[in-house]
Amino acid sequence: MPAPSDFEPKILVISTNLISDPGIDYAGSAHVHYPSSTRMLRFPCSSMVRPEFILHALTHGFSGVFVAADGGDCPFLRDCSDRTALRMQRAYALLKEHGIEEGRLRMAGICSVCSDAFAKNVKTLYDAAKRMGPVRGNGREATT
């Protein structure tokens, strides 16, 4: 069933306290627009993102998850990008197990001034989620 055109996908954005959250703040300060159906959750570092958290989001009403990773600027880990990428790999496998499209998860390094990169990434995911419609498979969204 194609997604109804008025379907507004909710996107969970997981940001990091010291790097990507300031970058997302900067997008706001610069009045850079991105979809308002984004919801924001701050972590200390993107390496903390348990793949199960992503599944939890996609089975509780979110249609997409964007991980705004620390990238090379992480104050904790030099290899933060690699570690976060490993989490994402496990998350993709987990989504597949649950019959959820991999395209609903996106990760990119967002530095503390990367306002445009953030808006672009989140918009891309929003558009993809809008095309895909609500989460089906094991997702609860399909049944609500």
Binding site: K10, L12, L18, I19, D21, P22, I24, D25, Y26, A27, G28, S29, H31, V32, H33, Y34, P35, S36, S37, T38, R39, M40, L41, R42, F43, P44, C45, S47, M48, V49, R50, P51, F53, H56, A57, H60, G61, F62, G72, D73, C74, P75, F76, L77, R78, R83, R87, C111, S112, V113, A119
Partner: protein
């Protein structure tokens, strides 16, 4: 699964919510009344209000009164970014007798009203969701105590330009141990090169020498020249910095330095003169040197052997680089700017011989001692200043998006008009023409502009679409300009010297930027956390920025910035212990299966496997070493290891609240 421990045992959560208008910054887009009203229906919310400014004293007092009168035990504020006011409202909770971590600050300005100004309904829905997730988090939040960590009473200042000197002197006066490191063999930065500073005319090198003199009388200052940062580790209060100090080679006094300098066969452009003149590989800097001896530029020295033969034991070419380890509580990065260097041909630069940049012209004025101003052996009778060279550039269509300097460098109009006044005073017969786009002699500097106009300098405005052209004719430079007040005609001015009023550009500090992950703004300068609320801080606590490394400033402004950074550094370096947030990992030994995944994941070695009596091996976190990144949380197969302040159930609660 998280055990609910309330601040006042036996009491249910009683939450107060305060939705901020922020003047209109939030309420112009987000329907704050609607958000506050909707939140009244949330379980455990006792009071929900919308307030003009959450952060005002009156509002803070109102919250404290509510907490006391309504027996609230949780505080939720929905306002600006937590980077700005999270600490404010933790303070409110504390003053009302609550644990400070029973306060949560939801961001509905930077992340709701501002980016979604085009979508008020969407912004309102988002603000409501963010508030609900804050309430969900607070419902099960537990009181926590801040961790304490020992702090070193010392500060590293990187860069001994006028900003770093000011910071170092202020900190030394407070009794803090200061390490001042400078990449070059001499001190003072660009300020030492300025002939007459505005508005008083004091020579830049006089200001620098005064600061250096005061600094060297302080017992608690150590200055390293030829010094760069090799590595850094640690955190606020406990940074460990390895400093590389290149050999100076000149080690002792000698009566024959002038002979050695004369004998040196090397000739390289003198950076102190902005390449206007040449110097030898061994030379006596004109800026303050510590110790006051000539220096050898080892990058250009050919090891010809003349120095040792003339100077004997005063030089030691076998000297090796040293690496020192410094422990500091805070760091100030004051690495300064580079002057804009026009590309070949811009306004005749490099093509027309009588064209110099503003810094080169200032050196010419500073070194010209005679009754006449001469350039290339000819007396200068007329001068043209072309303003905004390399500043306020527009990105051209299809230029490939290369770097342009869109900002105003703010000091250059003032510096130029000031130079004009000095030129007029010393060489009254010189005619001066100023070709400007907009005259920005702000504040009292306006009086200099007025004076220059009164004494006969000609100010001609040009438009950026039609900039002056500089060509050469009979040994003169010819400046042809389409003046804004003349509709069609262009006018040519033959002059003896053209000064390109060049601004400041960010210095290429790649190695240092990478070492400290310094935040760089879109214009290439270092970017503070907040222009007004945290003007010298970076996102790394204790790592501060100051001076023109941050954005163009004049000397007065950069000195203020140096003092500001010193004051901020003192808030870390004057304490023997610092409070750190208690957001560290801990292990529930009843769930841990000793998989060892967290040990391998921890980059700090904070996790060990302990033998517990009766239950066997379990992971254990050393909270003094844990930095709270949460990497371990992501790999634990049984959710035994979790982060205080953001437990797995709290994450799930927030996700569910955000999805509603």
């Amino acid at each position: 699964m998280a055990e609910i421990v309330l601040d006042k045992p036996g009491e249910k959560p009683r939450i107060g919510v305060y939705v901020c208008h922020c003047g209109g910054n939030i309420s112009d887009t987000v329907d704050v009344a609607k958000v506050a009203e909707a939140l009244k229906g949330e379980a455990d919310v006792v009071v929900s209000k919308h307030i003009l400014f959450d952060c005002s004293d009156a509002s803070q007092n109102e919250m404290i009164e509510d907490i006391k009168n309504l027996n609230l035990n949780r505080l939720v504020t929905c306002a600006c970014s937590p980077k700005l006011h999270e600490a404010t409202f933790r303070g409110v909770a504390q003053r009302a007798g609550l644990n400070q971590y029973l306060s949560f600050h939801a961001n509905i300005r930077e992340q709701s009203s501002w980016p979604h100004g085009d979508d008020p309904a969407g912004a309102t829905a988002k603000a409501l969701a963010q508030a609900r997730s804050a309430i969900a988090y607070m419902r099960d939040a537990t009181p926590m105590e801040a961790l304490t960590s020992g702090s070193t009473q010392s500060v590293l200042v990187i860069g001994a330009g006028i900003t770093g000197l000011r910071s170092a002197l202020d900190l030394a006066s407070m009794g803090v141990q200061v390490y001042l490191i400078e990449r070059l063999p001499y001190l003072g930065g660009h300020s030492a090169q300025v002939g007459g500073t505005y508005p008083t005319g004091t020579r830049g090198d006089a200001i620098v020498r005064d600061l250096v003199g005061q600094l060297l009388r302080k017992p608690n200052v150590t200055v390293f020249t030829n010094a760069t940062v090799e590595s850094q580790s640690g955190y606020v209060g406990n940074f460990e910095i390895r400093v590389h100090i290149a050999p100076r080679v000149v080690v002792g006094p000698s009566a024959h330095f002038n002979d050695a300098i004369a004998a040196c066969p090397v000739s390289v452009p003198d950076e102190f003169e902005y390449g206007r003149t040449a110097r030898k590989a061994i030379y006596q800097p004109r800026a303050p040197v510590v110790p006051n001896l000539p220096v050898i530029d080892l990058d250009h020295c050919t090891r010809c052997g003349k120095c040792p033969s003339i100077l004997g034991g005063a030089v030691d070419f076998s000297q090796r680089a040293e690496v020192l380890t410094l422990k500091v509580g805070s760091i100030i990065v004051a690495t300064g700017f580079d002057p804009y260097t026009p590309p070949q041909g811009e306004f005749g630069y490099g093509a027309v011989p009588n064209v110099v940049t503003l810094p080169q012209f200032e050196r010419l004025l500073a070194t010209e001692k005679g009754p006449e101003l001469t350039y290339l052996g000819r007396k200068v009778r007329s001068l043209a200043y072309i303003y905004c060279v390399g500043s306020r550039q527009k990105r051209a269509e299809g230029d490939g998006g290369g770097p342009v300097h869109e900002y105003c460098s703010r000091f250059c109009c003032n510096a130029t008009v000031n130079n004009d006044l000095h030129v007029h005073e010393r060489f009254p017969e010189i005619r001066a023409y100023h070709f400007y786009r907009d005259m920005r002699t702000y504040g009292r500097n306006e009086l200099m502009y007025e004076q220059a106009a009164k004494q006969g300098s000609i100010f001609v405005r040009y438009s950026e679409d039609n900039p002056p052209r500089v060509t050469t004719e009979d040994g003169h430079a010819l400046v042809t300009v389409q003046a804004s007040i003349l509709e069609h005609d262009s006018v040519a001015f033959p002059v003896d010297l053209v000064v390109l009023v060049t601004g400041m550009v960010p210095r290429d500090n790649q190695a240092l930027n990478d070492l400290f992950s310094l935040p760089i703004g879109p214009d290439g300068f270092y970017k503070e956390v907040h222009q007004k609320l945290r003007p010298v801080e970076t996102n790394v606590t204790g790592l501060l920025i100051a001076g023109t490394a941050q954005f163009p400033k004049d000397i007065k402004e950069t000195l203020l910035s140096g003092s500001a950074a010193a004051a901020k550094a003192s808030t870390f370096a004057l304490k023997t212990t610092l409070e750190l947030e208690p957001f560290v990992a801990s292990v529930d030994t009843s769930v841990c299966e000793a998989s060892g995944g967290c040990l391998r994941e921890c980059p700090f070695g904070a996790i060990e496997m302990h033998e517990y009596e009766g239950i066997g091996k379990r992971a254990w976190v050393n909270s003094a070493v844990c930095k709270g990144c949460g990497a371990c949380v992501a790999v634990c197969p049984t959710e035994a290891i979790q982060l205080a302040g953001l437990t797995n159930p709290e994450v799930r609660d927030m996700i569910e609240a955000l999805a509603r």
